[in-house]
Structure formats: structure tokens, C-alpha cells
């Protein structure tokens, strides 16, 4: 029973990672691709780490592994948005624009010429 729960959690994580990967391949412009990649680092990491956490506690019986898995999840979730934010802003300021016009673009209105 426990094994089934663990497997389901890992499969859910892999499912969202697959969705994010398809998004990275097929989205039309740079910023939308970045949006899709967030799927991988949130639900993908949470699902797999939750599964690994349960596995470490109940099947391996090793608290040190469980704590490390928790720390990995927490660190990925706190450091990822800083990088995503920096990449998005840097890409925009380096002059990368989507081919199709954006619906609204207040950033250009306030900061560009």
C-alpha cells in the first residue's frame, strides 16, 4: 500500500516534468518557454521529493536521508525563482521580444524610449 503511494507521487512528479519539457520545446517565444519550465521545478521536484521522503522514512528507515531530501526540495524551491526572475529581466533588457505582439506590454511603455 505504501509502495503504491510512493510510486504514484513519483509518477505525478514525472508527469509534470514531461508537461514542462513539452512546453519548453513547443511554446512560441522565450518568455512563454520560461513559464513552462517552472512546471518542472515546482510540481516535478515536489512530487519526486515527497516520494523519496516517504521512501527514506518508511522503507529505508534512515532519518538522515529523509532530512537531506527535505533540504534539497526547500533549497530548489527558494533559489529557483531568483534565477528565473534574473533571466527574464536580462532577456528583456538584451532586446529579446516575442515575434507575435504581446497583449499588453507595460514594461516597454515605462522603460523603453
Amino acid at each position: 500500500m505504501l509502495r503504491i503511494i510512493i510510486d504514484v507521487l513519483i509518477v505525478v512528479g514525472a508527469f509534470f516534468a514531461l508537461a514542462g519539457t513539452i512546453g519548453v520545446m513547443k511554446m512560441p517565444d522565450t518568455f512563454s518557454r520560461m513559464q513552462a519550465s517552472t512546471c518542472i521545478t515546482t510540481m516535478g521536484v515536489i512530487g519526486v521529493c515527497l516520494g523519496a521522503l516517504l521512501y527514506a522514512i518508511f522503507i529505508m528507515g534512515s532519518p538522515s536521508t529523509a532530512v537531506k531530501v527535505g533540504v534539497i526540495a526547500a533549497l530548489v524551491l527558494t533559489t529557483n525563482p531568483v534565477g528565473a526572475h534574473a533571466i527574464a529581466k536580462g532577456a528583456y533588457q538584451a532586446g529579446i521580444r516575442p515575434e507575435k505582439r504581446m497583449e499588453t506590454d507595460d514594461y516597454r511603455r515605462d522603460f523603453d524610449e
Binding site: 508537461a19 520560461m34 517552472t38 512546471c39 515536489i46 537531506k68 525563482p81 497583449e103 507595460d106
Partner: protein, 173 residues
């Protein structure tokens, strides 16, 4: 750049020592002593980046409980809904996108709360915070939104932030 203050060093030391214990997870005297020395050095050099305002806001148990409830409860629900929406978009051939950058007013004052809200928004699939600007005492976020439903302003802010802002205000203000 701030000067290093002693209370800030103490609270940074406690946080880094807790991280050391979590990472090693062994309680022999040698490990603990080495961890104390390393954490003190780290705290000495990084306290001025880590602590900006009150030094011991982190150790108020009520705030910690609310923060824990926010990250594990409120935020996880929002995260799952946004992820599901994004997964449907990706498997549907990536045709239903309507991207744009909106400007949203934010009422939080504390640095920590603003950073936490910006990170929460970035972590949710579908929205990325690109910049923070201040005009006439009002803070604005520039947010890239994959499916723009409303023009810039308060309504777009309610659609993006949901209840997150209310909870972060309870934690930090």
C-alpha cells in the same frame, strides 16, 4: 550597505547552525564544534546581507506557524492549480497562449514580504515577476503573464496574487 550588528550576527548564526545540523545529521561532539566555528565565520561575513530590519523576526513562534501554514497549505493549493492549468496548456499543443506584461500595484512595505511575494509569483507557473518599481510611494511589480485576462491595475493584481498577499502581510507586518 549596512554595518554588521551583533544581534544580526546571532540570528544568522542560529540559522546557519540549524542548516549545518540538518545537512550532517550526526550529533558527535566533533561535528557540532566544527559546525559552530564554520557557522560563526559565515554569520560574521553574511549577517549584513541576511538581516535588514529587526534581527529576531524569524524566531517569533506565531509568525513561524503562520509562515509554515502559508508555504505548506495556502501556497501549495495555488501551486497545484496553476501547474494543472499549465500542464493542460502544454499537452494541448501550446496554442492557447496570450502572453503580455502587466503592471500590478502591491501594498506590502517590508523588504522580506516583497521578496517573498515576488518569489511566490515567479514560482507559480504562468507568471514571472520581472521587475519591482516604486512610484509616488506605491510599489509596482511588472509581471509577465502567459494568459492575460485583464488590463493592468488592481483587477489583474487580484487575479494573479489571490490570497497570497493577505497571508504574507500576516507573517511580516
Amino acid at each position: 550597505m549596512q554595518k554588521t550588528r551583533f544581534p544580526a550576527v546571532v540570528s544568522t548564526f542560529i540559522v546557519s547552525y540549524a542548516f549545518w545540523i540538518l545537512l550532517t545529521w550526526s550529533f558527535s561532539a566533533q561535528e557540532l564544534a566544527a559546525g559552530a566555528v564554520v557557522s560563526f565565520l559565515v554569520a560574521l561575513f553574511s549577517a549584513r546581507f541576511f538581516i535588514h530590519e529587526r534581527s529576531f523576526w524569524l524566531f517569533n513562534p506565531l509568525r513561524l506557524l503562520i509562515a509554515l501554514f502559508y508555504w505548506l497549505g495556502v501556497f501549495m493549493v495555488e501551486l497545484f492549480k496553476a501547474n494543472w492549468d499549465m500542464a493542460k496548456r502544454c499537452f494541448g499543443g501550446c496554442k492557447k497562449v496570450n502572453p503580455g506584461i502587466v503592471k500590478v500595484p502591491v501594498d506590502l512595505k517590508s523588504d522580506y514580504a516583497q521578496a517573498a511575494l515576488a518569489n511566490s509569483i515567479t514560482l507559480t507557473p504562468g507568471t514571472i515577476t520581472m521587475d519591482i518599481a516604486e512610484e509616488d510611494g506605491q510599489t509596482y511589480y511588472y509581471i509577465h503573464w502567459i494568459d492575460v485576462q485583464k488590463p493592468s491595475g488592481k483587477e489583474a493584481g487580484d487575479a494573479i496574487k489571490g490570497t497570497l498577499e493577505k497571508w504574507l502581510r500576516r507573517v511580516w507586518e
